[in-house]
């Protein structure tokens, strides 16, 4: 299919929109340590959709979405109620809700359709998403719900921050925590249900979590994380969806999932600030600086025992003052390049610049500063 084709445009735009909304809102779930909520709400959406159909007889996406949101929300509130009032932990309650609601949905579908084969044919779309059937109206629906969710996030921004990072404090200053907890859950349910049509039940979890995890490596601030996660989600979903339309038979949901996961892998390694490569480089340069300070300090202390500071010393004398595993050759080389020390064959001496450097760091405190 050509890149300008209507279907392709709608799928790619839809995926980008989805990535933006779920990625950004998923950050809230991840920092609340409720990452797996995406998986359970998406499963709980199944009976919601079936019940919406039974009650209204309509097959409109709006009705299905409303059913999914209501039942997904109720399911999550039940989980929170059970966790608050019994010894069951969050993970157990979540896993129970996920499977029970999904089983209930299966039962209702097969009851409606009577033959097991028919039920599974319809279910496949729900399980794996049906990006190909996406239409412009669906994008509009996603956009509206996304705007509602973002509006709520921005409206109560300070409340969310306090609630997420210090729930006890939030309670003590009189914020109705249970109410806002339910509202925050509602926002997340919206984000999850939006994505079902494109990536399906099983893969929704990654859409919610992965962009936030990637963003976590680029920033420590909640607001920044949400923006970065939104961008990462949008870009990688757009790329994945576009790729899947270009190769026949490639399923959209899984390709998007892989694409988002690759964004995480990239961020874990290469993000500035918290990425592994970044950390490695900064750790290495800090280590080098420390060993340089140590070397120049040894020279300085030796020089105090002589008339003039540039009195040359044999390497063996320096070695005595340094730790066992010290990379002396490398440090001497760098020290010479920096102009702190100079040599005459095997005899090494402190230069004017080195003396200045040693005096600056003399009191040790600065040794740990940078």
């Amino acid at each position: 299919m050509s890149l300008m084709d209507y279907t392709v445009t709608v799928i790619s735009t839809g995926a980008a929109l989805l990535g933006l909304i779920t990625g950004s809102l998923g950050t809230l779930a991840v920092v609340r340590k409720q990452s797996l909520i995406g998986d359970s709400v998406s499963h709980a959406a199944l009976p919601g959709i079936v019940l919406a159909f039974i009650l209204t007889g309509s097959k409109s996406p709006l009705i299905f979405t409303m059913g999914a949101i209501v039942v997904g929300w109720i399911g999550t509130l039940i989980v929170q109620f059970m966790v608050r009032n019994s010894r069951l932990k969050f993970d157990t309650a979540l896993a129970s809700m996920l499977s029970v609601f999904f089983g209930l949905g299966l039962m209702l579908i097969s009851y409606l359709q009577k033959t097991p084969d028919a039920s599974q044919a319809g279910l496949e779309k729900f399980l794996f998403g049906q990006a190909a059937t996406l239409m412009r109206q669906d994008l509009f629906l996603m956009l509206v719900m996304g705007i509602v969710a973002f509006f709520l996030v921005i409206l109560f921004w300070n409340v969310w921050k306090v609630m997420i990072f210090n729930p006890d404090y939030a309670q003590s200053i009189g914020i109705p925590v249970k109410l806002f907890d339910a509202l925050l859950t509602f926002i997340q349910v919206i984000a999850i249900v939006i994505g079902l049509q494109i990536v399906g039940v099983v893969l929704m979890s990654a859409m919610l979590i992965a962009p936030a995890v990637a963003a976590r490596h680029w920033s420590d601030k909640l607001g920044h994380m949400m923006i970065i996660a939104g961008v990462i989600g949008a870009v990688s979903s757009f790329a994945g969806a576009t790729l899947s339309t270009q190769i026949a038979g490639l399923p959209t949901g899984p390709v998007i999932t892989i694409s988002v996961t690759l964004a995480v892998v990239f961020s874990v390694f290469f993000a500035s600030g918290n990425g592994m490569l970044w950390k490695y480089i900064s750790r290495r340069s800090r280590k080098r600086e420390l060993s340089m300070k140590l070397l120049i300090k040894s020279f300085y202390e030796l020089s105090l025992e002589h008339e003039e500071f540039s009195h040359p010393h044999d390497i063996s004398v320096i070695t005595l003052r340094l730790p066992d595993k010290y990379n002396l050759a490398g440090c001497l080389e760098r020290g010479k390049n920096d102009g702190f020390i100079g040599n005459n064959g095997n005899k090494w001496f402190l230069t004017e610049k080195g003396l200045e450097y040693a005096r600056k760091n003399e009191n040790g405190g600065e040794l740990y500063e940078s």
Binding site: V100, F102, G103, M107, E124
Partner: protein
């Protein structure tokens, strides 16, 4: 054997086999791992199929088991190296595996019979059609035999490592310091979860394996503190719900696994509400009881403090209680009635007096309190 019985038997075997690793998953707060592994085994099954070209080969179970373990390994690795909590790494890693599986199927296995949805949604109703033939003799439903073998393997695993599993679940640090290797036990348990999930997906589908693995142990945990009794309750509730779910499915002519899971859910909710000691209702009742016990004692001590003093006529008057304790009238009336019933105080036209038994009780409580300090 009649088909109904075969289906119930298979469901019960699945439930019993799932209970063993399931209990430890629930106790270790890793219940969602069952869901993750249930999905992540897909690429293992697909690759196993590419190699063997046979969907019934035991090698498939092995391949899927390895995929499950690999998932656990990746999750642990992500935990160690990325700045995220365990739940986030689980929720991110299994969709990736599942996606790889789906892409493999659609790209390379288009014309052969692996339905990704049939892995997610097994169907117990088909169990009686898939027979095990041994030397031309019909041995019964194949899935029941597979689950039986898995159950036996799980029982052996449990019997061999019960002490290790128990200790590393309840006190990880002690287990490590005694020389048990928590990592080895962790992977052993995960192997059990993977193999059980793979074997069970044929019958109930990988999503509902989660129900079989998590809900009976959760029910058992709401009923008892004793680990051994948990196994008993877990298997028992699994079997009862399987039978109940089967007949519900017959009644509605619906998916059997779906109906069993629905019954699981109802059972869990009922136990959550009405469990004799740990249920919601008995917890509420206990809290209420504690509120009265505390109020009664507080009143007795208050009376004791002021008895035989000048302030007695003010402080120990019946109508002073609302002011002093900030109690609702109905509540303080109830407290007084309770205390009178127990003969701990008497009401002499509005003035409250401790009885002999009341004074004794206060003295006892005070002594217990001070000796504890």
């Amino acid at each position: 054997m009649n088909p109904d019985f075969e289906i119930i038997l298979t469901a019960s075997l699945v439930s019993a086999a799932c209970s063993i690793p399931g209990i430890f998953l629930v106790l270790r707060k890793m219940a969602m791992m069952s869901d993750a592994i249930g999905h992540a085994i897909l690429p293992g099954i697909v690759i196993g199929y590419f190699i063997t070209q046979n969907l019934n080969s035991p090698l498939l179970i092995l391949g899927a088991g390895l995929a499950g373990l690999f998932t656990v390994f990746i999750v642990e690795m992500v935990n160690k190296n990325a700045l995220i909590k365990e739940d986030a790494s689980i929720g991110m890693v299994f969709p990736m595996f599942f996606s790889i599986g789906v892409i493999l199927v659609t790209l390379f296995a288009g014309n052969i019979h692996i339905d990704t949805d049939s892995i997610l949604l097994g169907e117990l109703a088909f169990v009686p059609f898939d027979r095990l033939w041994l030397n031309g003799v019909n041995m019964g439903p194949r899935v029941a035999w597979v689950m039986g073998v898995i159950l036996i393997l799980n029982v052996i695993f449990l019997a061999l490592f019960f002490k290790e599993l128990k200790l590393s679940t309840f006190d990880k640090a002690l287990a490590a310091s005694l020389g048990f290797v928590p990592v080895a036990i962790h992977y052993g348990l995960m192997t059990s979860v993977s193999l059980t999930a793979v074997a069970a997906f044929d019958a109930v589908g990988s999503i509902l394996v989660v129900a079989f693995m998590v809900i009976p142990p959760a029910i058992a945990w709401l009923l008892t503190d004793d680990l051994k009794m948990m196994f008993f309750y877990s298997v028992l509730s699994g079997v009862i719900c399987s039978i109940g779910g089967f007949y519900l499915a017959v009644l509605l002519d619906s998916s059997i696994a779906g109906a069993i899971t629905t019954v699981f859910g109802i059972a869990l909710f009922l136990v959550f509400l009405f469990s004799p000691e740990k249920g919601y209702v008995s917890t509420l009742r206990l809290r209420r009881l504690q509120r009265y016990t505390f109020a009664e004692l507080a009143l007795l001590i208050h009376l004791d403090n002021h008895k035989n003093t000048a302030a007695e006529v003010v402080e120990n008057r019946r109508d002073h209680l609302q002011d002093h304790f900030n109690w609702e009238t109905a509540f303080s009336e109830k407290v007084l009635v309770n205390l009178k019933k127990k003969n701990l105080l008497s009401d002499e036209s509005g003035l409250l007096k401790l009885s002999e038994a009341g004074e004794k009780l206060v003295a006892e409580k005070k002594q217990a309190f001070f000796s504890a300090m």
